[in-house]
Amino acid sequence: METELVEKAALGDRQAFAALIEGRYDFIHAVAWRWCGDRQDAEDVAQEVCIRLASAIRGFKGASRFGTWLYAVTLNAARDQMRKRRRAEWRDAAYLREKAVLEDHSADDGGEELWQAVRRLPDKQRDAVLLIYGEGLTHAAAADVLGCAETTISWHVHEARKRLKVLLRDAAA
């Protein structure tokens, strides 16, 4: 049924496209939020993804892989957003935001700390970890999204684990 919508939208069906993004917005937003860890950023990314989809959907083939593709598009947008964010170097703002987030979830079981650490990983390791543990994808599916071999994913995850341990130990010290 989604496959059908995607096929129609690819042919330029306005209604189908509307229904498609309507249905997928929450998913996009959630993924964007996991990656960015900030409400405002997540909203911006989600909007950006919707706009990109509008032109990218045309002539999109392989409707069955729409979910995978959507992951890839969202991840790209999230990466762009974070790059932009970093460039802006609004450290104070970032600090305040981080603090606000921390306070929001003070009752959390240390998950926040872990999230912060994950976001500090190199791009590929972070993407792999978030796809597998955050989104619950299999290694094979994550490899599909990121466009690399399954073993590469496993390796990224392995490296990420090592690194996270160091990061978290540092944070605890």
């Binding site: 939020w33 032109s55 762009d80 341990k165």
Partner: protein
């Protein structure tokens, strides 16, 4: 914590999406979708199979893919900084002339220059949206975006100066670089940005003309000009000076600087004769041999109770470039101030334009203030600018809520270009003129800098019977939209023209200070079809002539050998008349003009500068400052210090601190110009 429980990550539930953000995103997506639709119908780009590539590329790319060519790639990397340095040296030594293009027309070379500005970064982000922008005919004019479009030619470098530098490199180095033109052109960008010592070129464009020349009364006894109550130039100058640089002389319009300040000219008693002129003749502070003929005109001040109801349409530019603290956020605050000033029965509509024109708020009575404020709050920047379409939508709403006896006005807020759509100045002028005739006027509020298209703003406001103001601070918004709301919103006279005839028996030469863009032909004065400026409730207009009395040593033109006896038609040689002032105007709803005249006589003259009123002296100081910034030769020897002294002594009553601010600007300019301060 040694045991990593990464599964914790999945337990974290993201917050649910905000409904308004969601709606905004979906709307933006649909808009983008529709645009993509248009583009597909336009059969964009290359329809054949495969990537468009030259035979050169096809031969080279497999070779370049081999790993053993890594050495060449390294050489390429080497070339780039060297080329940058080389260019820098060439430029610094003046071997390669660097043209600074400030012209109004943006040539292709111009566009190429801009492409290499840091803006390119932003352009790249926009390029991802480029699929939805129309990358066809207007691409050349549409600078930043088109430069970032991946569809660009592989060799944009070809026309640039870097190419000359590279071409001049030793052959062995150049080969590696030439191998992959596209890669090089991309990589060459950052070093050239660093290496180029030329000042970053602004995309700002100004409508300006050379300062009015000195005219001989014998050959041109009559000077005619249209009223101008715009103030944009002053704010712009202020912004430049506060930013640490002297303003571009093109950006300085002396009359707008003079008219920025509220002067206490004596106003008319009744609305029947909408304005009154106060004339002073005084010695020129910067030239012993000349005098200043100073004309201060004040419009009738409509009491707030009589203010007609207003139908305002805010036409707001929300293009991506508005995403700066001094643009959209400032604009929102400014409009909030204005809404606070309106009566409950007035109506407000909001239209945005960015890529696609959209109605944010249908005409709404000001009674529902909260609705209006909420609508203004929802504005978000994004997309490119389709000015013409926005203007049409705005006019449609203005017609919908048309008030027959009220004020119908579109208030356009933008940072500059109208770069998508049928946006030639002429086309827009036609649209605006057509609506002006049906009673809907247009005012323009300019924001931000770097992209500001002053010429366009002027054209629009002048053709729409409106004012153009430049808003750089909230205080300025307060001045333009609240304190002077009456003047900009409620016109008391339109097509106001001035004509002054000098008595050749007394005055040898004259020079109109400022009003370069407002000069009219002598015959236009009596022609009611010729459009001219408006004067609003309580508006003040000040015009200053520098006149050279007959027989003064400062006369520049030699007397005409055969000119004697031509001036037989002047009866007033004995009445002490220096000149004769005529004003023409139309009632806001009228089609025929009315005329008022007054002679300028010796009775208006004062013996020295200090005898003139403080307001006159202050306005003269502002005129002097403006002319100095503009580089008028007559003022070259008049120091900033003297201007400061003149203005300081004439500060008078300055309740809003405008004059104190002016003094600050003079001091800044004095410091920046390197001239020794007082």
């Amino acid at each position: 914590m040694t045991d990593l429980d990464l599964d914790k990550l999945s337990r974290r539930q993201p917050p649910s999406a905000d409904a308004s953000a969601r709606a905004a995103a979906l709307a933006a997506a649909m808009q983008a979708f529709d645009e993509a639709e248009k583009n597909t119908q336009a059969a964009q780009g290359f329809t054949g199979g495969g990537r468009p590539s030259s035979i050169f590329n096809r031969i080279w790319s497999p070779i370049m893919n081999r790993r053993f060519l890594a050495g060449s790639a390294l050489a390429t990397l080497l070339v780039v900084p060297v080329a940058g340095l080389f260019t820098y040296e060439l430029v610094r030594n003046g071997t390669v002339p660097l043209k600074s293009e400030t012209g109004i027309a943006a040539g292709p070379a111009d566009a190429d220059q801009r492409a290499r500005k840091p803006v390119a970064e932003k352009a790249k982000a926009e390029a991802q949206l480029a699929a939805k922008t129309d990358a066809s005919a207007k691409a050349a004019a549409d600078t930043a975006e088109s430069a970032g479009t991946p569809a660009a030619e592989p060799a944009p470098l070809a026309e640039s100066q870097d190419e000359e530098a590279i071409a001049a490199m030793p052959q062995s180095l150049a080969v590696g670089g030439a191998a992959n033109g596209q890669a090089l052109s991309r990589m060459a960008v950052p070093p050239s940005v660093i290496a180029m010592p030329a000042p970053v070129e602004d995309r700002e464009r100004f409508a300006s003309a050379d300062p009015n020349p000195v005219k001989s009364v014998a050959s041109d006894p009559v000077s005619t000009f249209s009223a101008d109550v715009d103030t944009a130039s002053y704010s712009y100058v202020r912004r430049s000076l506060l930013g640490g640089s002297l303003p571009d002389p093109e950006a300085v319009r002396v009359e707008e600087m003079v008219n920025y300040f509220p002067y206490d000219w004596k106003g008319p008693e009744t609305a029947e004769k909408p304005f009154n002129a106060t004339v002073t003749v005084m010695p020129t502070p910067w030239n012993k041999g000349t005098e200043l003929l100073h004309i201060g005109i004040k419009g009738f001040d409509t009491a707030p109770a009589e203010q007609p109801s207003a139908n305002l349409v805010f036409l707001i530019d929300v293009s991506g470039s508005m995403d700066e603290p001094d643009k959209l956020p400032l604009l929102k605050s400014a409009f909030r101030l204005l809404v606070g000033k309106l009566k409950d029965t007035d109506t407000v509509s909001v239209v945005t334009y960015a890529g696609d024109a959209g109605v944010v708020l249908e005409p709404t009575a000001v009674k529902e203030r909260q609705t209006i404020l909420d609508a203004i709050d929802t504005l978000r920047p994004g997309g490119s600018t389709a000015g013409a379409e926005g203007i049409e939508t705005a006019y449609r709403l203005a017609e919908k809520a048309f008030r027959k006896d009220g004020v119908n006005r579109v208030m356009l807020a933008t940072d500059g270009d109208f770069n998508v759509g049928p946006a030639s100045d002429e086309d827009l002028k036609r649209i605006i003129e057509a609506h002006r005739r049906s009673g809907i006027f247009l005012s323009v509020l300019g924001f931000g800098r770097g992209n500001y298209n002053d010429g366009m703003m002027q054209t629009l406001a002048q053709n729409g019977n409106g004012t153009a103001a430049y808003i750089d601070t909230l205080a300025e918004a307060q001045k333009a939209l609240v304190e002077e709301a009456g003047s900009s919103l409620f016109p008391i006279a339109k097509d106001v023209k001035f004509q002054i005839e000098f008595n050749p028996a007394r005055i040898a030469e004259y020079r109109l200070i400022g009003y370069e863009t407002r000069v009219l032909n002598r015959e236009d004065f009596n022609n009611d079809k010729v459009d001219a400026g408006d004067i609003g409730s309580g508006h003040r207009v000040t015009a200053i002539y520098e006149v050279t009395p007959k027989g003064s040593p400062a006369v520049l033109n030699d007397p005409l050998r055969y000119g004697k006896g031509e001036s037989a038609a002047t009866p007033a040689t004995d009445g002490g008349e220096l000149a004769f002032l005529k004003m023409r105007w139309k009632k806001p709803d009228g089609d025929t003009s009315e005329l008022a005249t007054m002679p300028v006589t010796d009775a208006d003259a004062v013996a020295d500068v200090d005898a003139a009123s403080a307001d006159v002296r202050f306005s003269v100081a502002v005129a002097a400052f403006g002319q100095k910034l503009k580089g008028v030769t007559a003022l070259q020897d008049y120091a900033y210090g003297s201007i400061l002294g003149l203005a300081e002594a004439a500060r008078g009553n300055d309740p809003f601190g405008y004059r104190a601010e002016f003094l600050k600007l003079v001091r800044l300019a004095s410091g920046l110009s390197g001239e020794k301060a007082q």
